[in-house]
Every structure is written in structure tokens, then in C-alpha cells.
Symmetry: C2
């Protein structure tokens, strides 16, 4: 699955001056590919940062004895689990992306890789949205009870964790769009490389 | 956008006996297309029934004065709104599907129709999942309070509404898979008709 020679940088121009189009085309395609892969990497890194931050904010959300604990609430455990899963997945996908940019090849066989990325992006986006929505509903309910009046910082930290989780979902959604585009490219051209 | 003559049933066999393949191919394609469109219609009808039932169960969830009212809770209002929107959308898509099966043409221009269906399926699936997750978190919290002990039927009816909503989401997800497949077919072949 390595890139053909024509895709590499640093090639000397073809001596065939009557037909300069293929080299020009390859350079443009290479530039587009680099941009596309870099964009995916940026989305992966951002999704990783936000979902990791969200899970850290949730897991540290305890104020000692007498205060509420995040593990007492199912929805908060769900928020932590979903964000931790997405953070781990994004870390793996960052590695995959860096590997692809540096070697020009996919880690798994190409057909498996494009479907793996798209399928997991979709499923984890649904998982994260579901968890964050459940967490939001719980915080809204807690604000009507004594929990948030006696321990305001507990609710504020939950709010921050949820906001970070929703932002992570947004960037996972963007990644899903791009990986969906790669699947379509692969179906049409038999290769993810033709944009 | 009408189907070409070869796609219609009841054609007399071609007098050109040396090349019977195209007619055979068209008959098989026609049968596949009918099955595909009928499957989409079945998913649309099921999504409509479940989301309508969910919104009806939620909107009738009041037990007179002294009992809790569904409108008092943001998450329940969200569940009702999301299910009502999906029910209306599914009703429209049922009409579109019936129109397509009976006339062989799409209601909107073909490119617009396939992207409209896929885009709305995706967005409304996220909306419905988000609403149902929020509702589930609320009901779980209410079960720890007096609300569900003094008015158990209120919580049971909410549970039923949410279960119906999740089933509606499942069938909307199936529809989304099929409409995604139609988009890919359209991108590859320039027509949704080639399976």
C-alpha cells in the first residue's frame, strides 16, 4: 500500500517535457493528501484532548466525606466511561494517523482500516452524545435539589466535564465525516488515496 | 427520472434471442430495487409508529393535580419534542417512499433527495438518542426521590415512552444505513437505481 514513486517529494522533474501534466497532477494530489491527513490528525488530537480532560474532570469530582461523589450517580459513571473510551480510541487513531503520514501506508490492510475508522467513529460518537446528554439531564435535576446548593463546586465541575465532553463529540463527529469520505473514495476508486 | 422501459414489468420478451441477458438483468435489478424500496418503507413506518407512540405516551403523562406533570421536567419536554419531530419526518419520508415505489421517480430532484434523506436521518438519529438518554437519566434520578414512590405510574409511563423512543431510534438508524447506501450508489453511478 505504499505510495507510488510519483507521489513522493523531492523527485527531479520528468525529462519528458512534452507531457508535464502527470507530475503536476501528482504534486497537487500529494499536497491535497497531506492536508487531508493532517486535518484528520488535528481532529483526532482535539477529540483526544477534550475527552481526556472531560474524564479527568469527572474522575476528580469529589470533595471528601459529606460531599456528593461522582460514582454515586450512574449517569456520571457513564460520562466518565464514554469519555475514557473515546480518549483511548482517539489516542490509537492518532498513532494510526501519524503512521500513515510518515510511512504513506495504513496500519491495517486498507479496506479494513477505512471501515474500522468509519464504523468506530460512528458508534463512539453515538456513545459519547448519549453519555453527555444523560449527564446533562442529571446535572439539571441535581440543580433542583440540595446537592448543588450544599456543594456548588461539585455541580460546576460536572458542568465543565460535560461541556468538554460535548466539544470532544463535536470533533469526533468531524473525524467521522472525513473517515466517511475516505470510505466513499475507497469504494469508488479502490483506494483511499484518490481525492 | 422515470425508470427506463426495460425496468417495467409485463414487457414481452425481446425478439432478439441471441442476447437475452439485458432483459434478465433488468428484471433482477427491478426485483432488487423493489425489495430495497420496500425495506426502506418498512423501516420508515416502524420508526413513525414507535416515535409517535413515544410522544403520545409522554404527552398524556399527567395524573391531575397533586401529581407530577411531564412539562415540569426539561428532559421530558425534550423527549416529547424529539419524538414528535421524528414522527413528522418519518411521515413525510413514508410519503416520499410510497411516491417513489408507485411512480418510480423521486419527489425532489434525485441528488437533492438522496442527500436530504441521509442528512436528516443522521441529524434526527443523534437528536432522538440525545433526548432519550437525557430522559433515561432523569427517570433514574426520579426513582431515587419521592416522585416515583408517590406516583409510580408516572415513572412507569415515562419508562414506556423512553423504551418506545429508543426503538424508534433503532429503526431510524436502520433507515440511515440504507439512505447512506443510496448516497454511495448515487456518487458511484450517478443514479440511486443501480444496486
Amino acid at each position: 500500500m505504499r505510495l507510488p514513486q510519483g507521489f513522493r517529494n523531492g523527485d527531479t522533474p520528468s525529462p519528458n517535457h512534452r507531457n508535464p501534466t502527470p507530475h503536476f497532477h501528482n504534486t497537487v494530489t500529494l499536497r491535497k493528501l497531506r492536508r487531508f491527513n493532517s486535518l484528520i490528525l488535528v481532529f483526532r488530537v482535539t477529540a483526544f484532548i477534550f475527552s481526556l480532560a472531560s474524564s479527568v474532570f469527572m474522575v476528580t469530582n469529589s470533595r471528601g466525606s459529606g460531599s456528593p461523589l461522582w460514582t454515586d450517580f450512574d449517569a456520571f459513571r457513564f460520562v466518565f466511561a464514554a469519555n475514557a473510551i473515546v480518549a483511548l480510541y482517539s489516542l490509537f487513531e492518532m498513532g494510526v494517523s501519524v503512521w500513515e503520514i510518515s510511512t504513506g501506508a495504513t496500519l491495517l490492510p486498507e479496506i479494513l482500516q477505512v471501515w474500522f475508522d468509519f464504523g468506530h467513529d460512528q458508534v463512539f460518537a453515538y456513545l459519547l452524545l448519549s453519555a453527555d446528554s444523560a449527564g446533562t439531564a442529571l446535572v439539571k435535576t441535581l440543580k433542583r435539589t440540595d446537592t448543588c446548593t450544599t456543594s456548588a463546586s461539585f455541580c460546576v465541575q460536572s458542568d465543565i466535564s460535560l461541556a468538554l465532553g460535548f466539544t470532544g463529540f463535536l470533533f469526533l463527529g468531524f473525524s467521522s465525516l472525513l473517515s466517511g469520505f475516505r470510505v466513499v473514495c475507497f469504494i469508488i476508486n479502490g483506494s483511499r488515496l484518490h481525492l
